[in-house]
Structure formats: C-alpha cells, structure tokens
C-alpha cells in the first residue's frame, strides 16, 4: 500500500525556470535576485558586472579537512552535522535560510528517533488515512497503528532550520549564498572551486565569492547544479503540484489527524492526489510523470473530488516542483557525491523523500569521515562509492517493492479499485505501516503472505472484469 507522503523539495525559484510562472506568491526573493536556474544569461551578466571588483575568496585553510556542502534541506543539514561531528571543516551554502520549500511534509516515525527530532517540530501526528478509489469507495487505514505510532507532518522551514542550526552548533559554517557553479580540479589534490554569490548584507544583490574545498556533497535538490557540473545525467521526474487551502474550522476538524489519498484517472494517470493536513490549513495536490502539461486539470479534478470537504476554503499558496523518479545515472564522481533529491532518492508509489534525503546525507557524510580518518587525509571516489554501496544494499529492496506496487496498482482504474480494496485488509495495513514507519521490508508470515497474494490477484481480476464489462456498455 502506498504511504501518503509526496515530497516536493528544494527551492521554488529554480522551478520558475519554466515559462509559466507558477510562482509562489510569498517571500521568494529569487525574483529580484538573479537566480542561476532562470537563465544562464542572467547569471553571467550579473557575475561579469562584479568580477572586476574583487571576487571575495574564502581564506584558504590547510587542505586536509575542507569540505563543502551545497544547499540545505534535510539532506544537507544531516550531512553537515555528521561531518562537523566527525571533525571535518564543513561549509553549508544555502540560498534562503527561511525557505518554505514546497513539500508534502510527511516523515516516518523512525526519522524522529534516528535523527533526534524534538516534538515541537512536528505539527501534526497523522494516525488515520483514507484511500478513495475512482468510484469513491473509501477505505479507512490506520486501525492497526498502536498508540505511539504516527506519521509526522512537518513544515519544511521548521525542519530545515532545525537541522541546519544543529549542524552549526556542531561546528559547521552556514553561508547564506547562491551556488552558481563548480570548477572540477584536474588532479586528486587540488581543491574544488565553488563559485557562489554571497548574501552577506554588504550589497543588495550579493557579492560573488569563491570557496575552495576538498570534497563536495551535492544536496541541492531536484534541480541540482552540482549534478549538472559533474555530468551526473538526467532523470525522469514527476511534476507535483500543490495548493495550500485554508478551510473553515469545522471542516479542519475532520482533518485533525487524517490524511486522504485519491486515486483515479481524473486525478492523475500515474500518481495520486492528496489532502494532507498542515499546521492550520490543508495541502491539496497531485502529480504526474507522463502527462505533465495537464497537471492543472488534474489539480482541478482533485479539488473537485474533495469538494465537499474543502468547500469554503481559500487558496493561500500555490506551489509546484519536480520530483525525481529514479536515481541519476551517476551519483558520485571523484570527490563529489549526490544525496537526497539531487541523487534521485525518491521512492515510487508514495513519492517519499525527506527521510531518504536525511539518511543519505548522513550515510555519505559518515563515509567521508571514515574515508578521510576524521579529516586527516584526502578522500577519493572509492570512499564515496562505499556510501553508494551501503545505501544500495540497505534500501534497494524498499525502492524495488514500491516500484512494483506502483507498476501494478497505478496502472489503470481497475487496478486502483483493486488497490483500494486491498487496503481494507488488516494484514495489508499492518505490513504497510510497519515497512513505512520503520523503513524495513518486513517478510511477514508466509501463510498470510500467500493469502494476501491470492486476494490481490482476485481483486485485480474482479476489477478488470468489471472494466471489460463496462467497455461493452453502450450507455
């Protein structure tokens, strides 16, 4: 069963590259500040204008122990913290420190424990979910959860700044700047030169600066510049579109700790539409890979399906972002590694990315700490490949299972009807929540698994039979 989180990460400004200004009408300062991704022309004109007058160099430290990190969502924050704790000099470059990134915002229970998140970060604890099929069959999911199990809903700006500040407390330096590009060194000892625009307040549009580091972790999200600079390759991506809607109090009570998932051809041809409760409003959204231009129609359809429950609401924000569908062809190159969305670690079926971003940031940083013996010697690509190897071994099964679920159950309307029908089963709910909340693929009882397999096939066959019959109808 799919879990409910759809993660849409990284800066909205980078998405403004599309000719349609799906802009969040909020404090995105990127509008006035030349953003690297809008057009390369824009960047070079502003850079050229200032190169003459002092590019400010970061003061060179000794080569051992200089690392750079790019951008900071959960991946960057956790990586920086681990690096700093490991005694490595870490720089974290973040464009907008209070950025409210477009995101579904759901985190699994294990993340709270593994990353020591304080309870104040979690806005809501979702303990119930409703899955709604194309013909509006509604199934309640969550009765197998015990009292202290929940899915945490967070605000990205709160989570990101907490992780960043914790990294800073451990010794990482936060640079408020916009990463522009990176110069790859020719040999194994020269540093990487990171060109960025420093918003240190001395000038309204920032001063260009250069940072020299020994290794780079690209944690800059789906439109990663680091990935581009190391030729990491392209990935297929979904466009996720979300509207935040403030609904009346009595309707908000229904969503107190309940999230909804709508499936259907009208809502999305290969994903789902969702209604997630946030701190004081709901986020209604949908996404698609194969038919991106029709995303607004899918969004309207999602709103229509939830119409009765969100009537009278006011849209307070619109956001959209690409979500990667699979990892990039190259996730590490020399002394640069990608983590999080930049690497493409978003699961299929549920679109979950926050936990995997944080975990991959941590694992990559651990590999670097180990490979460099706490910052005393230079690393090389094999250390980063250790991280890739560990990651693939640990989470490959999770990703593959979710891929299979997506291929089987998001194929067509009958498959979705079968999917919702299957979710009514207690065993399915238990297995799904166990694997989602604790990120372990549980094998379960073989007899129950067999029964589950038989029931799944039965549901699929019945739903497809109904569909074939309906095609014969000439009504």
């Amino acid at each position: 069963m799919a879990s409910l989180q759809a993660v849409i990460t990284a800066s909205p400004a980078s998405f403004a590259a599309s000719s349609r200004a799906v802009s969040s009408h909020s404090e995105t300062a990127a509008v006035l500040v030349p953003c690297a991704s809008i057009s390369s022309r824009g960047v070079s004109t502003s850079c050229l204008g200032f190169v003459a007058s002092s590019g400010r160099n970061a003061s060179l430290k000794s080569f051992e122990g200089l690392r750079g990190l790019n951008a900071s969502g959960p991946a960057g924050g956790c990586a920086a913290e681990t690096l700093a704790k490991g005694g490595i000099e870490t720089f974290l470059i973040e464009r907008k420190l209070d950025n409210a990134k477009p995101c579904g915002g759901a985190i699994p229970l294990c993340m709270v424990g593994e990353f020591d998140l304080p309870p104040e970060i979690i806005d809501r604890k979702v303990t119930k979910m409703k899955m709604i099929s194309p013909s509006n069959v509604a199934v309640d999911v969550g009765k197998t959860l015990n009292d202290d199990e929940y899915i945490g809903m967070v605000r990205r700006e709160v989570l990101d700044s907490f992780l960043r500040e914790r990294a800073q407390k451990n010794g990482a330096s936060i640079i408020n700047g916009l990463f522009l590009r990176m110069e790859v060194p020719k040999d194994n000892d020269s540093p990487y030169r990171l060109h960025y625009t420093n918003f240190d307040g001395s000038s309204k549009i920032g001063t260009p600066a250069v940072l020299e580091v020994d290794a780079v972790i690209g944690a800059d999200g789906a439109n990663s510049r680091v990935a581009k600079d190391i030729d990491a390759g392209e990935y297929d991506y979904a466009i996720a579109f979300q509207e935040r809607i403030k609904i009346p109090e009595d309707k908000m009570e229904y969503y107190e700790n309940l999230a909804e998932m709508y499936v259907g051809d009208d809502v999305s041809p290969d994903f789902y539409g969702w209604v997630f409760p946030k701190c004081d409003h709901v986020a209604v959204g949908t996404g698609t890979v194969i038919n991106k231009p029709a995303i607004k129609k899918y969004q309207t359809a999602t709103r229509n399906r939830a119409k009765d429950k969100i009537a009278g609401g006011k849209i307070i924000r619109v956001e959209a972002h690409p979500i990667p569908e699979h990892p990039r062809p190259r996730r590490a190159s020399d002394r640069v590694a990608l983590v999080g969305d930049a690497a493409g670690y978003v699961t299929k079926c549920s679109g979950e990315g926050i936990y995997f971003a944080a975990k991959s940031g941590r694992m990559c940083a651990e590999a670097i700490v180990e490979g460099s013996a706490n910052g005393t010697r230079m690393i090389d690509e094999s250390d980063l490949r250790t991280y890739l190897d560990k990651w693939d071994k640990k989470y490959w099964a999770t990703y593959k299972v979710l891929d299979i679920l997506q291929k089987v159950f998001y194929r067509s309307n009958p498959a979705r009807e079968a999917f919702v029908e299957m979710c009514a089963d207690d065993y399915v709910q238990k297995m799904t929540f166990d694997s989602y909340l604790y990120k372990v693929v549980v094998p379960g009882n073989p007899l129950d698994d067999l029964k589950l397999a038989v029931n799944t096939i039965g549901s699929l066959i019945r739903a497809n039979a109904l569909r074939k019959e309906s095609e014969k109808m000439t009504v």
Binding site: P293, T300, R305, A311, R462
Partner: protein, 304 residues
C-alpha cells in the same frame, strides 16, 4: 527585472501588453503596474488576468475576477475558493503532439514539456482521461449515479434476491454502470455517504461463471482447432499418428509452446505488450545500477 522577464515570456497564444512604459519594474516602486495578459479562449471563457504588484521583493499575483482555474467537470471551480492566485493559462491539452514543437524554438523546453530522459512525443505522455478533459459522451454526461438499490454506500442485496436466490449478474451489472458513470463524471467523495462496497461480496463462482467460463470456452476452442489442424497436417506429412506425435520430447515441447501461446498471445499486439512488460520489469533495476557502470574499480553492489 527578472520578474518581468519570467512573466513576460509570451505563452503560446497569449499576448502580453505591458501598460507601464517599457515593461520595466523598478524594484523600489511602491505602485503597481498593470500587466494585462489576454489569453486565448479557453473552454469558451475569456480570461483576463492579473494585477501584478511589485512591492519591494514581494511578487504577488492576484486574479482580477474571482473565478477559479476552470473546471474539467465544470462542477466546482467556483464553489470552493474565494480567492485564487491567477496563474497564466496554458493552452488546452488535446493529447500528444499539440504542444509547440521544441525544435522550432531554440529555447530550452520547460520542465512541463520535457520528460527527463524521454523527449519528443514520449515525453509529452499520453492524453489525459476523457474525464479530465471534460470530454464525455453526451448520454453519460447527463447521467448521474442514482440507483434506488444502492443503500448506505453499498448494494442492497435484498433487492437483487428473488425466492432466496440472489441474482449476482444483476449486481455485477449495476456495479459496472456505477463505475462507468463515476469514472466519466467523477463526483466529490463526502463523509455522509461513504462508499463501502467491496467486490468480494459477490461469491467467486459468480465471477467464474460470468467471466472465466466464456473465455475459457473460447480459448479451448482455439486450442482445439489449432491442435486438430496441426495434428492432421503432421500425420499427413509424416504418417505418425496423434498418440505417437506426442511420445517424442520434441512433440511434447511443441504442444507446450502452442498451449502457452494460445493463452498468452491473443492478438498480435500482445507480443509487444509482453516484450514491454519484460523490459519494464528490469528497467528500474538498470536505472539504479547505472551509477556502477562507470566505476573505476568494478565493485558492483551485490544487492542489485
């Protein structure tokens, strides 16, 4: 500046007529400049967008009329939202190939047009469902689901029963109609009338009788015809009788292939379907392994 650049890129079919001189916005201007964007007709309605205000670094786009983004089923664009961000419209999607071809303009295709590793018509994807486009057959678009036998979110089986025997075929037919209507005209799901119908209330033998048996008959008929014809031909050609044909391993193998073939391949397009399925099942694995292909030391991850 950059703001104007982004919004002023002409959309296909849109005409931008900046009212403020030169279209330049000084960032410190406290006043608003009007940007009138007239979009081409979209679903029969003429939409004017937008009052673009630039106050300092804020960039607010507000719709001048209270209308929503339009509605596929035309059933609720107005009812929910009182104030909507007016977003510039896109041309109506009519399926593959109706978008501006990326080759004609040197401009990089937007994230909405390109598909990552796919390009061209494959990136644009398949056409949205008829319900999404608002294209439904006239008969069905008139129909809303309204059946007296539907009670409390499921079918009232007592209404299908005569003399203690339930007519499962009628239940199946009713459910088929319900699903068809709802798939072409999706309705909002609400909490008062929750649907709890589950197809497993219809017993397995009803499904078998209705769906499996006719198809089994068909397939067996095909197999019998092919089998008899080929058995006769082999006998005519080699003189080996039916029983002796199957005694050899080769004969058994051929028999197996033909049985599986009849089951699996019903139309010629099934061959392509099977091949695509096989490719699809390993595609994701290949995407994960891609990073190991150019590893300097060939340390392949054993998990994959």
């Amino acid at each position: 500046m950059a703001a104007m650049v982004t919004l002023a890129k002409p959309l296909t079919g849109a005409v931008v007529a900046p009212v403020a001189s030169g279209g330049a916005l000084s960032p410190n201007a406290g006043k608003s400049s009007q940007l009138l964007v007239s979009c081409r007709r979209w679903q029969g309605r003429y939409r004017t967008v937008v009052n673009v205000e630039s106050t300092g670094s804020r960039f607010v786009v507000r719709a001048s009329d209270g209308e929503g983004l339009g509605s596929a089923a035309d059933a609720g664009g107005n009812s929910i939202v009182l104030e909507v961000a007016g977003l510039p419209e896109e041309p109506e999607t009519e399926g593959i190939g109706n978008l501006a071809p990326p080759t004609s303009s040197p401009r990089k295709p937007s994230p909405l047009a390109k598909g990552g590793t796919l390009d061209g018509p494959q990136a644009e994807g398949k056409a949205p469902a008829a319900a999404t486009l608002g294209k439904t057959s006239p008969a069905l678009s008139l129909g809303t689901f309204d059946d007296p036998r539907w009670k409390n979110g499921t079918w009232d089986l007592s209404q299908f029963t005569t003399d203690g025997k339930t007519d499962w075929d009628a239940v199946i037919d009713a459910e088929v109609v319900r699903r068809k209507i709802l798939e072409t005209n999706p309705v909002s799901s609400n909490n008062e009338d929750e649907v709890v119908f589950d197809t497993s209330i219809v017993p397995w033998w009803a499904w078998v009788k209705r769906f499996h048996l006719p198809e089994a008959e068909l397939l067996n008929g095909r197999a019998a015809m092919i089998g008899y014809a080929s058995g006769w031909l082999v006998d005519a050609a080699t003189g080996i009788g039916l029983v002796d044909q199957q005694n050899s391993f080769f004969g058994k193998l051929l028999l197996f292939i033909s049985v599986v073939g009849v089951l699996a391949i019903r139309k010629t397009s099934d061959v392509d379907t099977i091949r695509d399925l096989a490719k699809e099942s390993t595609y994701y694995d290949k995407q994960w392994q891609a990073t190991w292909k150019d590893a300097k030391d060939p340390e392949k991850s054993d998990a994959l």
